[in-house]
Each structure stands twice: as C-alpha cells, then as structure tokens.
C-alpha cells in the first residue's frame, strides 16, 4: 500500500438467515482514495457497505477504521466516527424539508461552529438544492434526491463516504453529473470514497482501485489503471474461467 489504510475489512462473513451474502471478504481503502466495488446484482455489494456502516451484523471477521475496531458498533456510533453511508435507493426523508434533511447529520457534530460554514460550502456544489431548501424532500426529482443524500452525508463531516450505486435509476446525463460532483469533492475536500457500481466502464475512468465482487467473494482486485485494458474484469464479473471459455455454469457453491 502506498497510502496508509483508513478502512480495513478483514475476512467478513454476513448472512441473512440461511442466505449467505458475504463469504469472507477482505478489502482496504487508503486515505484519500477512491475505491470501487463492482459486481452483478446480488453479489453482496450493498451488504458490504451496510456491514461497514454497522447496518447488518457480522458472523465473522472484523472491520477497522483508522486501526480501531468498529465491527459490532451501532450505526450511529460508526457515523459519529466519520463513516457516512449513502444507501441505494436514496432514502430521503420525504416529509422533511430539504434543509431539515441536510441538518439531520449535523446535530451530532461536536464542531458546532463549523456547521453553518460547511452548510454554505457544500451547497455550492449543489446549486439545485439551494433553491429548494424549504420544500419537502419528497417532491424533488430522482436526480435531485441523489444530490440531496450525497450532500446530507457530507454534512456529517465524514472521513469516509460509502456510496451505494449512485447511478441507480438515473438518466446517463445525471449519472455523469453525480460522478463529477463526487470527483470534485474528493479533489476539493480530500474525501475518501468507497463506491458500489454495477457497471465497470464508468468507474474505471476515475477509481484508484477496483474490487470485483461476485457471489459474496472478491473475484479480482487491482489498480484501476491495470484493468482498463484486457478482459480480466469481464471474466471476474461474469465468472468465466478465462476468455476462451464459454460462460461457466452459474451454479453458486454453497
């Protein structure tokens, strides 16, 4: 590692009843890095982020943030340590105003003095939100809601932001906009990002490193630069043995 690991996930196992979602996944994210997890539907990507954020219990393995074990802590405690999850499907508080949505995450901050400055600064990245602060968040369009949840996560003043499929259900133009903002925020605010995506072409352009997750296991892990050419990523994603093979039988070992 050329950067010190901020987040270390070690061999975690998660299941929902008899359904096994993660079978021993390890991953790390360095300070200031953008790391992407890609993989098909049901690969365990969302579970991965929820497990880091304390939303689902681990059967085995551990998670460390800055060397400190956070596995087993409640989600609000992990949030207070600086991990902010932007879950899939947006989850705005629809009956609350846009401003109230944004303020939720600031109530637990100890640096009260900076909150108003942050509020102003972060809204500069999201001009559409600034005009609609007094409106119920439920009335925003899908794209605006995605902006809102990202801005809301940032206002908790996180060290690490976990973003679960930000492109889901958005028009391509909006997806580009969301990613431009995320990349811009990394540059200007020094954010560390762990992002889930289904498709690889977009994230390969800006991610530092990529993990390919399938059937609850890491199939491939490399620097994005090494993956831009070649078929390794496709093979890992679809589970081909190598590129000359026909698709391997999709039976999932249990």
């Amino acid at each position: 590692m050329d950067t010190p690991a901020m987040l270390e996930v070690e061999d975690i196992h998660v299941s929902y009843g008899r359904l096994v979602a993660l079978r021993g996944v390890s991953l790390n994210v360095g300070e200031g890095e953008i790391v992407c997890i890609i993989g098909p539907n049901g690969a365990g990507k969302s579970t991965m982020l929820a497990a880091i954020a304390g939303g689902v219990p681990l059967q085995a393995g551990t998670v460390r943030l800055g060397g400190k074990i956070i596995a087993g802590m409640v989600p609000e405690a992990i949030s207070r340590l600086g991990v902010s999850l932007v879950p899939e499907g947006r989850h705005v508080f629809g009956t609350l105003t846009v401003a109230e949505n944004l303020r939720i995450g600031t109530f637990q901050r100890r640096d009260r003095a900076n909150v108003n400055d942050d509020f102003r600064r972060i809204l500069e990245h999201f001009p559409q939100l600034r005009e609609r602060l007094g409106q119920p968040a439920g009335r925003l369009s899908g794209g605006e809601q995605q902006m809102l949840v990202i801005a809301r996560a940032l206002l908790t003043r996180p060290r690490l932001v976990l973003v679960d499929e930000p492109s889901l259900g958005l028009a391509p133009r909006l997806i580009d906009q969301v990613y431009e903002i995320l990349i811009d925020l990394r540059r200007r605010e020094g954010l560390t990002l762990l992002i889930n995506e289904q498709s690889s072409d977009r994230v390969l352009k800006f991610a530092d490193r990529i993990y390919v997750l399938r059937s609850g296991r890491v199939q491939l892990h490399d620097r994005a630069a090494n993956l831009r050419e070649g078929h390794a990523i496709m093979s890992a994603y679809f589970g081909f043995q190598d590129r000359h093979d026909a698709p391997a039988s999709q039976s999932v070992p249990s």
Binding site: V74, P75, L85, F93, N101, F107
Partner: protein, 304 residues
C-alpha cells in the same frame, strides 16, 4: 340548533381526550411500530398517582391536594418515569422483535400495571374529586358549557401546538420525524436510536399524564381499568386517522369523539346501550372506503 351546538362541544371535549391519547399511541407507533396497548394504563397510573395508596373506597387525595404548580409536574414526572422504565426494561430488549411481539409485550405490561394497582389500591372503583369547581357552567349566548370542557379543549389545543413546535423547530423534533420516516437511515446519519425512542416514550407519557388529569376531573372516578376504554378508542382513532400519522391521530381522535357523541345524542333511546357497536360500525365503513386511514402515511409502505 342550540342542542346541536351543545353536542358539538361535547364531541370536541371527548374528542380532545381521544386525540391526546391517540397522539401518545401514534408517536410510539410512528417510531417503533409499537402499538402500545399499555398506554391506557399509563393514563390510569397518572390518575392513581394523585391519591394515598389504600384499600379504602373513598380516595384520599395526596399529590392531588398539592398546588397545581407542583401537582401537575409531579404527575407528569411519575408517568414519564413509568414510560421510560417500560422502554428500558421491556421494549429495549425487544428492539429487534416483530411488531406483533411488541404489541403482545405491551398487553402484558398493561395487565401487570392493572394488577399492581389492584394490589395497592383495591379492586373497587373509588370516587375522587379533582377540580370539581370546574364543573360550573359558563354561558355563551344560549349555550351552557361546563368550564371543564373548555379547559379540556384549550389544554388539548395548547399541547398540540407545543408538540408541533417541538417536532418542527427543535433538532430533537427533526430527528424524531426523521426516525419515524426511516429509522435506519436516521441512524446512519448519527441519530441515536435509544435516545430518540426514549424521547418518544417520554412525550407519550407526558400526553398520558395530561389525559389522566382531564379524564379524572370529568369522571370523578378511579378504577384500575379506567384507561382501557380510552386506550381502545384512541387506538381506533389512530387506525382511522392513518397509522403512523400524527395529524391522522388527532383527526381520528376528534372523529371518534364526534361519532360517539352524536350517536349518543341522536340514536333512539332503546338503541343507546349499543352505541359503541354503532361507533365500530362507522369505523368499519370508514376503513372500507379508506383502508389506509383518513390521512394515510407513505412511511409505512416505504419501510417494508
């Protein structure tokens, strides 16, 4: 016409009690998905807190004789502490339990409270005189209205305004509304689950204490199951209002009060003993046409 107006004020006053009780139930339901059937027994405890524990038939006032400025906060504190204890000892260990489990647990809590009261205060209903000077009537034009009804309506309106201000203007209130809509997301943003739930229990207890005092001063009678019918009607109020919606709970409370009072007034005398059956029939009709309640919430659907 005068008769109708008189009935309308009766309905408002009864609806106020139902609305306050329904708010207490709705608040907890919104956040915890707990249908708290012990809420009526919280109300009972608030009323019994006023008197000296004894098995005598006539109640001797204890806290009830204190000056208002001491008596009201003391009763509120007692019920709030009871509600917080219920959370800490019973509902917190059940945090991951399903909604039916929580409901059954609240039934059990209710029975325990009823029987503890039975042990210390005896089984017979007791007469208790609280604020009987408020039963004097005020004349407004041709209307003759007991002061108590006006006080009840005024207190209810004041509490609803305070609750609304709390939920809209304070950071705790905003956190509670967020938690009611999407508890998990709120926690991901640092909202402390136990704190928000405790707050909801405390406010629910506060509302129950208010109902205790208003209800006792209206009926003048204590019994260890006095809160049960209130809870039942308040629960129905939250259902026809739309489970999980606080506005719905208030609208539902006044609706049930209105239906109940008007049926009492206008049903043929021989049918009046069956008034509640007619109330429930109207409730069924409302739910047939609006299964989600009068003011349905989206939050419930989103949670699934």
């Amino acid at each position: 016409m005068i008769g109708f107006l008189q009935n309308l004020i009766d309905a408002l006053s009864l609806g106020s009690l139902y609305a306050l009780a329904a708010l207490g139930i709705g608040l907890l339901f919104g956040i915890l998905r707990l249908a708290n059937f012990a809420h009526g027994d919280f109300i009972t405890v608030g009323a019994y807190a006023l008197i000296v524990p004894s098995l005598d038939v006539t109640a001797k006032m204890f806290i009830g004789h204190w000056p208002l400025i001491l008596m009201i906060p003391t009763v509120c504190i007692i019920v709030v502490v009871l509600a917080l204890l219920a959370d800490a000892l019973l509902f917190r260990p059940l945090r991951r339990a399903s909604a039916p489990t929580l409901m059954i647990a609240s039934f059990a809590l209710g029975y325990i409270i009823q029987n503890v009261i039975l042990m210390f205060y005896g089984a017979r209903p007791k007469a208790a005189d609280l604020w009987s000077n408020l039963s004097r009537q005020v004349e407004i034009g041709q209307l003759r209205v007991p002061q108590l009804q006006l006080v009840t309506i005024a207190v209810t309106i004041a509490l609803m305004i305070l609750l609304t201000l709390f939920l809209r203007q304070t950071s705790f209130g905003v956190q509670m509304r967020a938690a009611a809509e999407d508890f998990r997301m709120a926690r991901y943003l640092g909202v402390r689950a136990n704190f928000v739930v405790g707050l909801a229990f405390a406010i629910s207890g506060l509302l129950a204490a208010a109902v205790s005092l208003l209800f006792l001063s209206q009926t003048g009678q204590l019994s260890n199951t006095m809160g049960v019918p209130l809870m039942l009607f308040a629960f129905i109020a939250t259902v026809i209002g739309g489970m999980g919606s606080l506005t719905g709970a208030v609208v539902g409370g006044f609706t049930v009060g209105l239906i109940s009072t008007m049926l009492q007034a206008y049903l043929p005398p021989e049918l009046r003993p069956f008034r509640d059956a007619f109330v429930f029939a109207v409730v069924i009709l409302i739910l047939l046409y609006r299964p989600g309640g009068l003011i349905p919430t989206k939050a419930l659907v989103q949670r699934v």
